[in-house]
């Protein structure tokens, strides 16, 4: 589903954010990416979303070669990926309901079908009673969960999550992970960038450790770590 093959990313300043990264995540697999801030986690997610293009190597996500993707095909590519952003990226002038409905609106869903899906997604993150609220009136954790609902509402084939549990207490973090696991069980490929070592250890999923742009470790559950 996601295949990095010797991928490097060098920004214009000359600093290398990622160097020679190779790994593969299969359909229905869930993996964590961890590492200090600045280790390249965000760059890696940006590459998958085609926000940035690799400087070298080949990256294939969802059957799309990111190095060669044409600008007009990028929206279609992103529609199939559900992304949870660290800073939520919610629209402040839209209600929670309409924020979550945005991906469906883009894809042209019928209002009734869209409403049904939006409520199902909000129900999964426990925010069904907040659908009329506006993002600014919500707590950080609630905004985070709105972002998660928006990421899963269109039933994507890949879910990328950048610190999805950053603002959540352990109990809510566990709930969010359960939502991800549900999607994993139906074949969605999930990549979670996280600092939360406690959570990572508790869940024992495959973990990719980045260190200064290099893939330092690829821990798989079951293997000794």
């Amino acid at each position: 589903m996601i295949k990095f093959d010797g991928v490097s990313k060098r920004y214009l300043g000359g600093e290398e954010a990622l160097s020679n990264i190779s790994f593969e995540i299969a359909k229905g697999e869930m993996a964590f990416i961890t590492g200090h801030s600045g280790a390249g986690k965000s760059t890696l997610l940006k590459l998958i979303l085609a926000i940035e293009k690799p400087s070298a190597g080949q990256l294939i996500a969802n059957g799309v070669n990111i190095s060669r993707i044409k600008a007009r095909h990028i929206p279609k590519h992103r529609q199939k990926i559900g992304t949870v952003f660290q800073d939520h990226q919610l629209l402040s002038d839209r209600s929670v309901f309409h924020n979550v409905a945005l991906p469906l609106e883009i894809c042209g869903y019928q209002p009734l079908e869209a409403a049904r899906r939006v409520r199902a997604a909000l129900d999964k993150v426990g925010l069904l009673n907040k659908e009329r609220s506006f993002p600014e009136s919500l707590s950080g954790g609630e905004q985070q969960r709105v972002g998660i609902a928006r990421a899963v509402v269109n039933r994507p084939s890949i879910i990328l999550a950048d610190e999805p549990t950053g603002n959540l207490d352990p109990e809510l973090s566990g709930e969010v992970m359960k939502v991800f696991e549900q999607f994993k069980s139906v074949g969605v490929c999930i990549l979670v960038a996280s600092h939360d070592t406690g959570l990572i250890q508790r869940l024992s999923y495959r973990t990719l450790v980045l260190d200064e742009g290099r893939l330092a470790e690829d821990r798989r559950p079951g293997a000794n770590s």
């Binding site: 992304t83 991906p103 883009i106 894809c107 129900d123 999964k124 993150v125 084939s157």
Partner: protein, 320 residues
């Protein structure tokens, strides 16, 4: 959180209806949102519409005036006349012979003889100096023959006039259509100025609407970035801005027709006074419903196209 385990998520689904009514519904909702955003800033929206209206008004008036002039000219086009002034003191009988001889020519359809006495009487009534003309001991005016040529085109009228100068009894041949030619030239000039002005105004409108749209996009930069992140295409993002351009153009066109009506009503009432003095009832025409619709349509087309050019350029420049 999810206590309803029976609704299990499915991987990417293909359930995406796309019918015509769905499309129309989508556009209706985008149009509504766009209109609502415009109405949220009434002062600046009104200003933009007014600027568009004034810009549209200038060429509209000029071109309208010119089409009126063309109507007037075409009315006169078939009435080219040549006046042949006869020798002073030529007996009326020989003058009538000259007139009848001319009428036998194939290139002349009508002749009208005006005797010297008739000319004096006409002058008296037309100038209001009847008293004076009665007091004249001798008639200073010559007799004349007014000729309507077969072919009213300027070239053949001119050629005929030259031939008429050969008549021995003629002292002066005057082509009455020369002033028409001058008027025609003025009309052509007005038309060219109108076209150039239209071009300049359209360019200006593209700039005005483009700038308004650019500012609107600038204000929604963060939103556009988020929409791009979740897979919105440039077209999806541009749609509300295209509607905004369309609405500004429509409002400008409607406003311009209103202003045009005010200008015309004012102008026509003073024109009517003037025409009363000339015992004529000429009125500016051609500013009817078709012209109003055309003006509004032009506004809408220009607004939409300007928004189209501006939005895609600026939206493309925004990257997540």
């Amino acid at each position: 959180m999810s206590r309803r385990q029976q609704t299990r998520p499915r991987a990417s689904s293909t359930h995406k209806p796309s019918s015509l009514s769905r499309w129309a519904q989508e556009h209706r909702s985008v149009a509504k949102t766009s209109l609502w955003r415009i109405l949220k800033t009434p002062a600046s929206s009104l200003m933009t519409s007014f600027v568009i209206a004034v810009s549209l008004l200038l060429p509209a008036l000029l071109l309208g005036l010119n089409s009126n002039l063309a109507v007037v000219l075409s009315g006169f086009q078939n009435s080219a006349q040549i006046t042949v002034y006869l020798e002073q003191g030529l007996p009326e009988s020989s003058a009538i012979v000259v007139s009848d001889n001319l009428l036998t020519r194939a290139d002349i359809i009508n002749t009208r003889y005006i005797s010297a006495e008739q000319a004096l009487r006409d002058f008296g009534t037309a100038s209001g100096l009847g008293q004076l003309s009665e007091e004249l001991t001798e008639n200073p005016l010559p007799a004349a023959i007014v000729i309507t040529p077969q072919d009213p085109t300027p070239e053949s009228v001119e050629a005929l006039a030259q031939q008429l100068e050969e008549i021995p009894e003629a002292t002066l041949v005057q082509v009455d259509s020369r002033w028409l030619q001058r008027l025609q030239a003025i009309s052509d000039l007005v038309s060219i100025i109108g076209q150039i002005l239209t071009l300049i105004v359209v360019l200006g409108l593209f700039f005005i609407v483009g700038n308004t749209i650019k500012l609107a996009i600038e204000n929604r930069k963060d939103e556009i970035r988020v929409i791009k992140l979740v897979g919105g295409s440039n077209l999806f993002i541009a749609r509300p801005f295209l509607y905004a351009g369309l609405f500004f153009g429509l409002a400008g066109g409607i406003c311009a027709s209103g202003l045009q009506a005010v200008v015309l009503l004012t102008f026509n009432s003073s024109l009517a006074e003037l025409m009363l003095l000339y015992e004529s009832s000429f009125e500016l025409a051609g500013f009817g419903i078709i012209n109003v619709l055309l003006l509004i349509f032009a506004g809408a087309v220009i607004g939409w196209s300007a928004a189209f050019l501006a939005s895609f350029r600026h939206i493309r420049a925004i990257n997540p």
